[in-house]
Symmetry: C2
Subunit: 262 residues, 2 copies
DNA sequence: CTCTAGTGTTCCGTCATGAGCAACAATACG
DNA sequence: CGTATTGTTGCTCATGACGGAACACTAGAG
């Protein structure tokens, strides 16, 4: 994160220094929540004044905000505005909204949509179930690629050799988390055969999820749709109950994206 | 949008040219959906190659994506990632999630949270009601400041002289839309007195919404919480029914932000 | 098929522009 | 009250971003 020699090293990296730094500023703020000019400058490895000018440029356009006159900086609402446009553009979210809503209504559980992004599962949409439990909002979050049903589905779309590399470090969250490469591969193979994935207590104790792939016209796995809820309610039998509904919904979205069942 | 002489004109505008241009690129993509290098260059008033380098810099960091090798560009998922962090940061969204969810569950209608941003109401969060109707997602959208209940609430926090300037042009959406400055002022005054706002068929025929202010510790209107649904269901009587619940919820959020009822 | 008119992409020399310095203002702390 | 932090702002120099022009590639027309 410090030495950005990237000017035009090979030909694959054509970048603009200040823009690149500005984006780094945004990412620093995203992960830190808030930061001061000096702190940002240190992280960037540049002079205070340089960092200040970058932040000021971002602030003029509403991408960052200053907590108080002469205070720390944090991400601004301008980002949300852009994100609104970005999700609207993702025909994925657009096309699936109605279907996911209906699925959530029918089952009463929370429905999530995730895509592969930079070695993690990025949650792009969520419709909450009617049950008042489980109110966490996942949208915009990035979850490691081995501990959820969505992750396994997304991995199932990759060629075998890329699976382990993409999943990265198999950190353990609960006793049930998959931590060996061998078991992860086996799980992914199972997903390919059965067409869905289940994860019980793997990311969080008491949290169960089922996921199914969403494919585009060329058959690639573009996203994963999951249904999640507390383990005591979403037990073995209940999972079998809702599975057909979930599969049907995912298939429906796939078809809207041009996928024709093989 | 063309002549950006803004280098350091007065002292209030300290900006970095390339960063500023890069942000403009993002905004162009946000409003156009997708655009090619040539188109972007034209809009920016710079050379093709300059525009290309900017886009490439953004692409390297995932803020924009290229539709296909050698194709048009559109906003990327990186934006969504940042936005996730931004909303998490907005203590507003954080603090209110649980309360908005409960409100949605109790009433069965859709709950929205909007803030004032750059002369428009920016919707920052939404929890859908259980009723399967009305599936539009407003998050990230910017709505004119005169045609919704949220808008009136947000305006009610401004000094009188700024109201008309901030609201801008009073475009008509339906026969019920407020189009005269005088009527808008009257509506805002009414909101101040009653502590809530109602809008029936003003933005869209058949859409009714009620909104209440959320205040911070110093008593400023920081956001507006609304409850919306189809007019036939959310009729006069029903509005009166849910109003106390809405007011209580908004008050609860205000209190979490440090507001002590006067 | 060629020819033209569009794309997006790359290379390079030049000069505007953004970087670093250092001084400044405004806090917080001892 | 001094000292040690912040965030902020002119100033100057060279760095790095700019525009020009040539390239690669696709699509369509003739």
């Amino acid at each position: 994160m410090s030495n950005n020699t990237a000017t035009r090293v090979d030909g694959v990296l054509t970048t603009v220094q200040s823009v690149d730094r500005a984006i780094t500023v945004l990412e620093i703020l995203a992960s830190a929540g808030e930061a001061g000019v000096t702190e940002i400058a240190a992280e960037l490895g540049v002079h205070k004044s340089t960092a200040f000018r970058l932040v000021a440029a971002l602030e003029n356009r509403g991408l960052v905000e200053q907590n108080s006159e002469r205070g720390k900086y944090c991400l601004g609402v301008g980002i949300i505005r852009l994100a609104g446009a970005a999700t609207a553009r993702l025909d994925l979210v657009q096309e699936s909204r109605g279907i996911t809503r209906q699925l959530a209504a029918e089952t009463g559980e929370t429905v999530n949509l995730a895509v592969l992004s930079d070695g993690a599962a990025l949650y792009v949409d969520q419709v909450s179930g009617s049950s008042a439990l489980q109110s966490h909002n996942w949208v915009g979050q990035r979850i490691p690629l081995h501990a959820t049903s969505n992750a396994k589905v997304l991995l199932s779309g990759l060629p075998d050799k890329e699976i382990l590399a993409t999943a990265g470090q198999l950190r353990s969250f609960t006793p049930s988390t998959i931590t060996s490469g061998k078991r992860l591969r086996a799980a992914v193979t199972k997903v390919r055969e059965e067409g869905y994935a289940v994860a019980v207590d793997e990311l969080e104790l008491g949290l169960t999820a089922v996921a199914a792939p969403i494919r585009n016209a060329s058959g690639d796995v573009r996203a994963s749709m999951s249904l999640s809820g507390p383990t005591f309610r979403l037990n073995r039998g209940r999972v079998d109950d809702v599975l057909p509904t979930l599969l049907a919904a995912a298939l429906q979205v796939s078809q809207r994206l041009g996928w024709r069942e093989a």
